[in-house]
Point group: C2
Chain length 170, copies 2
DNA sequence: CTTGGAATGTCAACAACACTGACATAAGCT
DNA sequence: AGCTTATGTCAGTGTTGTTGACATTCCAAG
């Protein structure tokens, strides 16, 4: 049973047997790694009144300044009530600015204030430091594979959002 | 700024520049991929009165039958109160059996009942199906890289738990 | 044998983050 | 004018996590 072949794939000269065991290792690796991935920002945020949701909002506003609430909603994949709670506190605390749209006045365009940028930097630095260590330790070929597999694991809409962000950022 | 070199690594003929931009792409890939990773089991669980925490408990009990509560606590990285709430409902619902230890009667050894195994199968099948698709699509070399990077991203204790599970399962 | 500590379980309170449903407002579109 | 879209808000609920306090059981060391 431990050696049941659940699938196989060809690639050049190598044969990969996708046994349940190998898939399970991938699943567990994903679980443990994600904990590490969020650990550093979580530590920083726990000192403030903020959580992971604030981090995500700040990250993507920094990534795409002037983004609308609706756009952010699609990227984050949460309800507007959930996002709004987070945005409200960030705006109240002067980390995010919400400007009424010029062409469409219903829309709110979101920007980080200097304070918001400072927080984003602090959080990103911590998360990037770990990512950098992992990338260095693993090497460039592993990094390429890492990204290939992650992309293949995304839902279609997520992959679209991801590549759109990726290409805009270049 | 977009091309600031935050680090570089050699590997054969390839040069990888760890720019902030590349690291950010890795971060976003991780974020979006994890959503896909948990999406299928979450859908199944939302119909029941269970959540992701139940999935994790059931997964690791299945992975290491007879594990103690304390051991599970270390793997999952939550408080005993949090785990206990989850375990209690699973035991009440007849999915998990808790047996008093023979050598140390303070310890409780956890096992899945047939019903518990059925749920585990259902959840694992969904999650493995996605992992299998991603692995197939990405190819064996990418899979190796994927795992290498994930391992490098774990905290030390998590890496230990991961390799222990990995080696025991072979 | 007594005492200390470890493993476990339980109760209560609370916070973060998600959800649904309902409703309000303003603005754009036909 | 009427429908739709974008946003915000209120109220309620659920899952998952936290702390703190306390009880029980049992091993092990003095």
């Amino acid at each position: 049973m431990a050696d049941r072949r659940a699938g196989a794939a060809h690639s050049g000269e190598t044969l990969l047997f996708l046994t349940d065991e190998q898939l399970r290792q991938g699943i567990e690796a994903m679980f443990f790694a994600y904990r590490g991935f969020t650990a550093d920002p979580d530590r920083i945020l726990s000192d403030m009144a903020y959580g992971r949701a604030h981090h995500r909002a700040v990250h993507f506003i920094n990534r795409a300044p002037g983004t609308t609430v609706n756009n952010l909603l699609n990227i984050l994949g949460v309800t507007k009530q959930s996002l709004n709670r987070v945005l409200r506190t960030l705006i109240e605390d002067g980390l995010v600015e919400s400007r009424v749209g010029k062409v469409d006045k219903r829309e709110r365009h979101l920007f980080l204030t200097p304070d918001g940028e400072a927080l984003e930097q602090k959080l990103s630095d911590a998360q990037r430091a770990r990512m950098r260590m992992a990338f260095r330790e693993a090497g460039p070929e592993a990094v390429a594979g890492f990204r290939t597999v992650l992309e293949a694991m995304m839902d279609r809409e997520m992959r679209y959002a991801y590549t759109r962000l990726k290409d805009s950022g270049l």
